[in-house]
Structure formats: structure tokens, C-alpha cells
């Protein structure tokens, strides 16, 4: 029995994390009808923002940053990232907007430059590192370019090539984006874009932070309360408490504030909401910001409780939280929390009584089952038909 209660406690803590992430999926899906596959990566990046901030504060100012400042920075980092993703990758899918063709040009030009460099490398011709013009070479020596022999193109010329490619991609995207028809979300294009963003963030994370797990500082010291053989960790209580508080605040925002009402209206009927004077883009940005900061709360708490973070930490929790959102009825916020708790408790019980290697399979098993038996989820959904 005590074993069971112990697993239940573990499960509720884990489930609170899933619930917090799931709410972000549900909010965004409710409004855009888009599965933001990158949500797990926003969770990861938010956690890393907090991690880097703590490290930075300590190394530069000798300041031992506490839990709340770190949490706030994590939330801010995630929110900024979430809004940026929406602007750059998703918004062009749903409307002719002043898309950052410039942004696409710079990024795409960079990618094309690397492609060209790689191919020309085979012919023994190498680009000088254009970054070397701005940054001392010692910093950028991670690139293999300097080490290989063969003809070397001067860095200035390389820069010119990069600029040309960037301009080319810029012109192309500008033209293409101007012509594009408004796309329905839920189409393959939207899904693939989201998938691309998710992959990109994972791999950027690996490049920026390294693939090896990092130890997250114990911003809240572990302290166990023991009841017989049952251990109730203060961190578990913190996780559950933070989830409850976040949900109360979220409900207040959604039901009592203007932006919250705007979000609900947009989720029901975008055009009707616009006819009330609701700013669609701003409202969607807010939804991303809110969902992303909730993910960051989950991430920081997870990091404190389970101590290790790495760039791929968002993939599985992201997928499981999505299952939680579907379980609760996508678009339904309390449903997402309940779904998260069910997922967490089930997982803990599977780990405790069956096998820890089966924990992930169970999550997907639940997903497939629920989709087949009751696709609207346990608590019903307000899945938008349009968008």
C-alpha cells in the first residue's frame, strides 16, 4: 500500500509537469488549430534560459540567483521564443503578412552558404570563415574549415557570397510569400513547418549547449518529509502547488481579463472576433506567450526535481503532454491538467509495477486508445472547425 501511495505521489508530481506543458498545446491548438510540435522545445529552451541566467549571475556578479528570479527569466525566455516562432514560422502560413522575408533571407542564406561550402569542399576549395571578419578566429575555430588544406577563398569574398545567397533567398521568399494563398492549419504544410521548428530547436540546442546533460542548480534544496516508508519531497509539493497556482492565475486571465476573453472569442470564431475589434495577431501572440511561459514553469520545476537537463529533454515530455491534452479534450484547459495528471500517475504506476522501459510505450498506447474510443477526449473539446 505504501508503495502504491509513493508511486501516486511521484505520479502526481510528474503529472503536474505534463499538465503545465499540456495547457500550452491546448491553448495554441484551441486558437490556431495547430499542433505546435515545437512546444516541447520551448519547454527545453525556457529551462536553459533559467539555467544560463543562474550561471551567468554567479560567474559575472557572484550572485546566487534564487528560485523566483530564475523562474521569471525562464518564463520570459520561453515567451519570447514562443512569440518569435509564431511570427517567423507559423504566421506566414495563415495570412499574407509582412513576413520577415529578411529573416528568412539571412537564415536561408546561411544554410545555402553552408551547403555550397560543403559541396565545394569536396573540390578542395574552401570558404574563409566570414565570421572571422568580426570575431577573433580563436572563437570560431570550432569550424573545421580552417584546418583543411586546399584553396582558400578569402573571408571577404565568402562574406560577399553569403550576402548574395541571402539576398537571393530574401527575394525568393518575398515573392513567394506575396503569392501564397491563405493556408488551412492542420494541413501537412502546417504540420511539417511545426515539425521543422521542433527539429531546428533541438539541434540548435545541441550546438549551443552541447548534447551532454547538465546539472541544474538546486534552487530549492531537496527536503523529504517521511511518513513511515513514504517520502513526500518538498519539491514534489512545490511542483503540485506551482501547477495549482498557475492554473488559478490562468483561469483568472482567461475569464476575467480582456485579452483572455479575446483569446476565447478567437478560439471560437476568428472572423467574428475580428469584427468585434479584436487584434488577431496580437491575441495569438499572447496565447503563445502564455503557453510558453507555463512550459517554462514546468521545465524549471522539472529541472529542480530531476536535476539533469539536456537539449532533447523536451521531446518525450512534449509528446506525452500532447497526449495529455488530447486525453483531456484538446482545447479544454482543465482537461489538459486532468489529462496530465492521469498520464503522470499511469506512468509512475507502470514504472513501479510493470517495467520502466515500458513507460513511454504506455503513453502512446493511451493516446491511440483514447483517439479510437473517444477522440474528443474525456472532457470534450472545443476543437475549432475553421482556421
Amino acid at each position: 500500500m505504501s508503495e502504491f501511495i509513493q508511486q501516486l505521489i511521484n505520479g502526481i508530481a510528474l503529472g503536474s509537469i505534463y499538465g503545465l506543458i499540456a495547457v500550452g498545446y491546448t491553448i495554441v491548438y484551441g486558437i490556431l488549430g495547430l499542433i505546435n510540435f515545437a512546444h516541447g522545445e520551448i519547454y527545453m529552451m525556457g529551462t536553459f534560459s533559467a539555467f544560463l541566467a543562474v550561471q551567468f549571475a554567479k560567474s559575472k556578479f557572484g550572485w546566487e540567483m534564487g528560485f523566483f528570479p530564475a523562474l521569471l527569466i525562464g518564463m520570459l525566455g520561453a515567451a519570447v521564443l514562443g512569440v518569435a516562432i509564431e511570427r517567423i514560422a507559423y504566421r506566414p502560413l495563415r495570412a499574407k503578412s509582412a513576413v520577415p522575408a529578411v529573416m528568412l533571407g539571412l537564415i536561408g542564406g546561411g544554410a545555402a552558404f553552408m551547403l555550397l561550402g560543403g559541396i565545394m569542399g569536396h573540390a578542395g576549395v574552401h570558404f574563409g570563415n566570414p565570421l572571422a571578419l568580426f570575431v577573433s578566429t580563436s572563437v570560431s575555430s570550432s569550424s573545421a574549415v580552417e584546418k583543411v588544406e586546399g584553396a582558400q577563398i578569402p573571408a571577404l569574398v565568402s562574406l560577399a557570397v553569403w550576402a548574395m545567397l541571402a539576398f537571393g533567398v530574401y527575394r525568393l521568399s518575398k515573392e513567394k510569400l506575396a503569392q501564397r494563398k491563405k493556408l488551412k492549419a492542420g494541413t501537412l504544410t502546417a504540420l511539417l513547418t511545426a515539425l521543422g521548428v521542433s527539429l531546428l530547436l533541438q539541434n540548435l540546442g545541441i550546438q549551443m549547449f552541447g548534447a551532454t546533460p547538465k546539472s541544474f542548480p538546486p534552487l530549492v534544496e531537496f527536503y523529504p518529509y517521511e511518513f513511515g516508508s513514504i517520502i513526500l519531497a518538498n519539491q514534489d509539493m512545490l511542483i503540485f502547488g506551482a501547477m495549482v497556482v498557475s492554473m488559478v492565475v490562468l483561469q483568472l486571465i482567461i475569464y476575467k481579463t480582456k485579452i483572455g476573453k479575446a483569446m476565447r472569442a478567437v478560439a471560437v470564431d476568428q472572423d467574428a472576433a475580428r469584427l468585434m475589434g479584436v487584434r488577431l495577431d496580437f491575441t495569438i501572440s499572447c496565447a503563445f506567450a502564455i503557453g510558453s511561459s507555463l512550459a517554462a514553469i514546468a521545465g524549471v520545476l522539472y529541472a529542480i526535481r530531476y536535476t539533469k537537463i539536456d537539449p532533447l529533454m523536451g521531446a518525450l515530455p512534449g509528446a506525452k503532454a500532447f497526449v495529455a491534452a488530447v486525453l483531456g479534450g484538446i482545447g479544454n484547459i482543465p482537461g489538459a491538467v486532468v489529462g496530465g495528471l492521469i498520464m503522470g500517475v499511469t506512468e509512475a504506476l507502470v514504472v513501479g509495477y510493470v517495467s520502466s522501459t515500458l513507460r513511454d510505450a504506455f503513453a502512446f498506447g493511451i493516446l491511440i486508445l483514447i483517439l479510437l474510443v473517444k477522440p474528443t477526449g474525456l472532457m470534450g473539446s472545443n476543437q475549432p472547425e475553421k482556421v
Partner: protein, 319 residues
């Protein structure tokens, strides 16, 4: 003579296997419009089944390949019936989940069968090691033959081309264009969706078997979501609903990483950027729904001048 090293042969082999994977996934994703993220799962089924049959049971390669493919086909059929009721995002996630379950099942196969066998008292009849769990499956009989691989690639393309051009193929394509409309025309969409899903799975199984016997050592982690996405990328790049596009996509995306060795560490950053750019600027892929032959045909007639259509007014390519 250009010297062909074993490295080049290896690249060619993977290219052939990727062609089979991409073309077969295109039947599901491109023509039928059903977003599957689980192709690697079927590949795993084919790879493990064939490998176990040749190594542990001494079956001949061709027979083992067919058995692996048939098992993948059976799974495709069985799972397709319920799963394909789902649409869009849900289907994508469910197929992703399925392939994860396949992976976990492979890892835990020995444990579970042993426990089950012990339960009914048959533990002596069941071999201790079947899939060998997370350790991976080593020392598979080697079949390093480009003839097998390209033979199968040719067969795959031929069969899929015939399917696509048949009246069933037109039914399948009409589902891909507008499922509701197809249904209202009296097309049994569930049947065609499941069929195309299973046929796609069959060839993924073939590809898995070929792969297993080329590399001779496989493990479940080789068939994760990354692999499914890689295949998907080939299909998307080439053009959804274009078989030659998928071949093109497979060729490009097999060669590209080899050319990108210098930037190996940035490769997985560049790929997603390209995918996003592609989606924002040319979501239909390089060839769209057209086949290379029709495009070349158009270019040819245009180049010949007279008789060709005016440049600004290209003829509608045959679907």
C-alpha cells in the same frame, strides 16, 4: 575509370534503400494524403523479422525479405483499419506513437515473451534471445548486393507506378485531394486508405530487410522518429504525389549529408531550416504533383520550339 570505393558503394546502397522508403511513403502521404510519421516502425518490423529468419532460422534472403515485408503489411492492415479513421494531426501523432510502440516492443520482446511463456509453463520451448533487446541484433548474414537493392527499388517503383495509374490509384489520389469529396462520390475511402497504408508498409519492410542485411547489425534505436522524418523529408522535397519526385528527394538527401561532412555538426540545423523554408516558399515540393517525365516532356517540346505550347501557358500535366 573512376575508382569506386566501398564507401561509394555504401552510399549507393543507402540511396537505393531510401528510394524504396521514400517512394512507398509517398503512396501514403503524398497520394492518399494520410500523414504518417511511422514509416520507420514498419521498416523495423521488416528488418528484425528478416534478420531473425535468415540468422536464427536459416531462411534464404529473398524469402526472409518477403516474410518481413508481409508482416509489415499485415501490421499495416491491422493497425490501419482503426488508425486511419483519424485525420491530420491526430493521425500523425498516432502513427508516431505506433512506431514508438514497435520500437519499445522490440526492445522488450524477449522479456515479455519469456514472462508470458513462463506463465503458461512453456519457458523451455521459447528461445531466450529473439530480438536481444536494447543490445541490438548482431551478426546478421551479410548480403551486400546492389543488385538486390536496386532490383527491389525498381520493383517498388514499377508496382507503385502501376497502382497509381490504375483506377484504384485514381481513387486513392482523389482521397488525397479531397477526402470528403471522394467519400461523397461513393469511394470506399476507408478501404483504399488502409490498402495504401499497408502497401506502403510492405515496401518499408522490404527496405528494412535490405538494410539489415547490408549493415549486419541493427538495433531498435535506428528506427526512431528521426528516421521517419528523414524519409518524410525526401517525400516532401521531391513533391507529394510525385513518384519520380520521391526518387529525386531520396537521391538528393542521401548525397547531401555526404557532401556536408565538413559541416556534419550543423547538418541537423540546416535540414530543418531548409524544411521550413521549403514549406513557406514551395510547400508542394520540387516537382509538386508532376512526374519528371512530364516535366522533361514539356521542356523538350518547348525547346523544340514550334508545336510546343507558349511559354507563359504551360499545359496541365497529367496527374
Amino acid at each position: 575509370m573512376i575508382e569506386i570505393s566501398s564507401y561509394h558503394i555504401q552510399v549507393l546502397a543507402f540511396m537505393g534503400i531510401n528510394i524504396i522508403l521514400a517512394v512507398s511513403l509517398n503512396l501514403i502521404n503524398g497520394f492518399t494524403g494520410q500523414f504518417s510519421l511511422g514509416h520507420a516502425g514498419f521498416m523495423a518490423i521488416g528488418a528484425y523479422t528478416a534478420a531473425i529468419l535468415t540468422k536464427a532460422c536459416g531462411w534464404p534472403f529473398l524469402l526472409a525479405t518477403l516474410a518481413g515485408a508481409l508482416l509489415a503489411f499485415a501490421f499495416g492492415l491491422l493497425l490501419g483499419i482503426p488508425i486511419l479513421r483519424l485525420k491530420g494531426d491526430y493521425l500523425a501523432i498516432a502513427t508516431f506513437g505506433l512506431s514508438e510502440i514497435v520500437r519499445v516492443a522490440i526492445v522488450n520482446f524477449d522479456d515479455v515473451t519469456m514472462k508470458a511463456a513462463t506463465l503458461v509453463g512453456l519457458q523451455d520451448l521459447v528461445p531466450k534471445e529473439i530480438t536481444r533487446g536494447a543490445l541490438g541484433y548482431p551478426a546478421i548474414p551479410e548480403v551486400k548486393s546492389l543488385v538486390w537493392i536496386y532490383g527491389w527499388a525498381f520493383v517498388t517503383c514499377l508496382i507503385l507506378r502501376n497502382i497509381v495509374r490504375s483506377s484504384e490509384g485514381r481513387a486513392i489520389s482523389s482521397i488525397g485531394e479531397d477526402e470528403l469529396a471522394a467519400e461523397s462520390l461513393g469511394i470506399n475511402t476507408a478501404r483504399y486508405k488502409t490498402l495504401s497504408f499497408a502497401i506502403g508498409a510492405f515496401f518499408a519492410g522490404v527496405a528494412g530487410a535490405l538494410f539489415a542485411h547490408w549493415v549486419t547489425y541493427i538495433k531498435a534505436d535506428l528506427f526512431k522518429i528521426d528516421k521517419s522524418i528523414e524519409i518524410l523529408l525526401m517525400v516532401v522535397l521531391g513533391g507529394m504525389g510525385s513518384l519520380s519526385g520521391s526518387v529525386l528527394g531520396a537521391v538528393v538527401l542521401t548525397l547531401l549529408p555526404e557532401y556536408l561532412r565538413v559541416f556534419a555538426q550543423w547538418r541537423m540545423v540546416i535540414y530543418p531550416i531548409l524544411l521550413i523554408l521549403l514549406m513557406l516558399t514551395r510547400p508542394e515540393g520540387l516537382l509538386g504533383r508532376r512526374e519528371l517525365s512530364t516535366i522533361l516532356g514539356v521542356l523538350y517540346t518547348r525547346a523544340m520550339g514550334r508545336g510546343g505550347p507558349a511559354p507563359g501557358n504551360p499545359p496541365v500535366a497529367a496527374e
